[in-house]
Amino acid sequence: MKMSTRMALLDVERIREDFPILSQQVNGRPLVYLDNAATTQKPRQVIDALVRYYETSNANIHRGIHTLAVRATEQYEAVRGKAARHIGANNERDIVFTRNATESINLVARAWGDANIGEGDEIVLTLMEHHSNIVPWQLLARRKGAVVRYAGITPGGYLDMDSLREAVGPRTKMVSVVHASNVLGTINPIAEVAEIAHAVGALVLVDGAQSAPHLPLDVTELDCDFFAFSSHKMLGPTGVGVLWAREGLLDTMDPFLGGGEMISLVRPDHSTWADVPHKFEAGTPNIAGVIAFGAALDYLRDIGMSDVRAHEAAITAYAMDALKDVPGLSLHGPTDVRDRGGAVSFAIDGIHPHDVSTIVDGYGVAIRAGHHCAQLLMRCLNVPATSRASFYIYNSQAEVDVLVEALKQAVEVFSRGDARTAV
């Protein structure tokens, strides 16, 4: 077992007691859940919030006068402020609840993009984007005859700022960038990106799906115009996403989906819209999900996002060191933990990532293998897929050790060519 250079800060044993799923056995061994970049597990505080809502307060919101409707509306609306505070925003009016980060980005591409992007305009992305921050812009570009350009990546796994500067030009209207890469772990210098974008009058959308769960955030410092993230990647339920927009921006935007809740007046020929943020929340929202997401935000606030970050940095440093013991393993992405989050992608010579994942699953270890919805990045790395371990507040160094041992077994299986004699 490796010694950590710096101890993890969090009391993992105590935290794990809050996560019922973590005490289960998988394939006869204790579950080691290292697929947190895909989705995190939920503490009982969040599960309890769902149960409590359905057992005491369930009603449709916003239009009801009866007691349950008032109660549900208050609980739902209270989460807007919590979501705003989580990212250092001060106005809950600037928070729209969506289904997921993907929908948040699509909302901007439609409700802002369709009105502001014209033929020949340019949208700048990076080659390390998740498909959710590529496809909506490709679709927008196709609708409008606009052009999508990409900033590249350095051999060390950083965003190539020179290529970003080259990609951004006078026709650039939007620069949409991932905050923390779900494959490389790289944390991008958003404020610097924003300076480059704002200099040509472009707006900046930050895909915060992998930063909101892991980093202390302040959208004012980041100086971005939109910030998108997902509840399910930060202890909250599935089916809830957030879009934050710089003050006043939502007011200038057309609606995205039409229906109940988002209107003021409906007449046969035309309608007028409710005030923001409700203008962007058509139909009955995921009321229970949003309320339980509030419990997740409370949980993270109680731990403190700097402690979350410190714990993950410690685990990630430990893991990057420990993984060196696996023969033939090479890491992707920045080696300096100060520049990266807790998603660690790697390759093992001669073993395809899917085989790696299947074998470590046999030891109860859940990691992800594949293109991670980042096919453009896979092409940059010149691999069809990677294996990825990703950490969160409940992961311990001991779990990293289990991963490393399981990976060694994978190497063993493949080097002997016969699993029956592998151990």
Partner: protein
């Protein structure tokens, strides 16, 4: 740390790993009569098959591709098993193989070495890896049949 033996006896059999590492009939056929390809978008595995059909017989067969040990060994074993068989026999083998993996049927004798892949059936997400080349094959056989029907080669 002591790692007990993992449950892979059924999956990573010696013959599978051997084919994955030393694929047979890998490459292209200059004189192919049929070509078919496929990919599995979820995991990115790719297989391309070249067939040279003479009369109703697969005179030669080769594959190219990339992906996991299961998809590559399945393709390698496919080519080994089917080289020289008739189109009809190839179709029967394909059906037996699919029955083994999808329906969990006990391996038919005609599968030969391919029987080694029957353990994949227990790994639901890996089944599609093993099947990829067989789906591609079926497309190639279709082409060959159409050509035969038109009276070609």
């Amino acid at each position: 740390m002591a790692m007990p033996e993992p449950p892979f006896d059924d999956l990573y059999r010696e013959v599978i790993l051997d084919h994955a590492k030393k694929p047979r009939n890998r490459g292209r056929l200059a004189d192919r009569t049929q070509h078919a390809e496929g990919m599995n978008p979820v995991c990115g595995d790719e297989i391309a098959l070249d067939l040279r059909v003479a009369g109703d017989r697969i005179a030669d067969i080769a594959f190219e591709g990339q992906g996991c040990s299961i998809s590559q060994s399945s393709a390698s074993m496919l080519t080994e098993r089917l080289k020289g068989t008739t189109i009809d026999e190839a179709a029967r083998v394909a059906a037996s193989f699919k029955a083994m993996l999808i329906a969990g049927a006990t391996p038919a004798p005609e599968l030969g070495d391919l029987e080694a892949l029957h353990g994949v059936a227990k790994f639901a997400v890996r089944v599609k890896c093993a099947l990829l080349c067989w789906n591609v094959l079926q497309e190639g056989l279709e082409q060959a049949r159409r050509q035969l029907a038109r009276g070609g080669t």
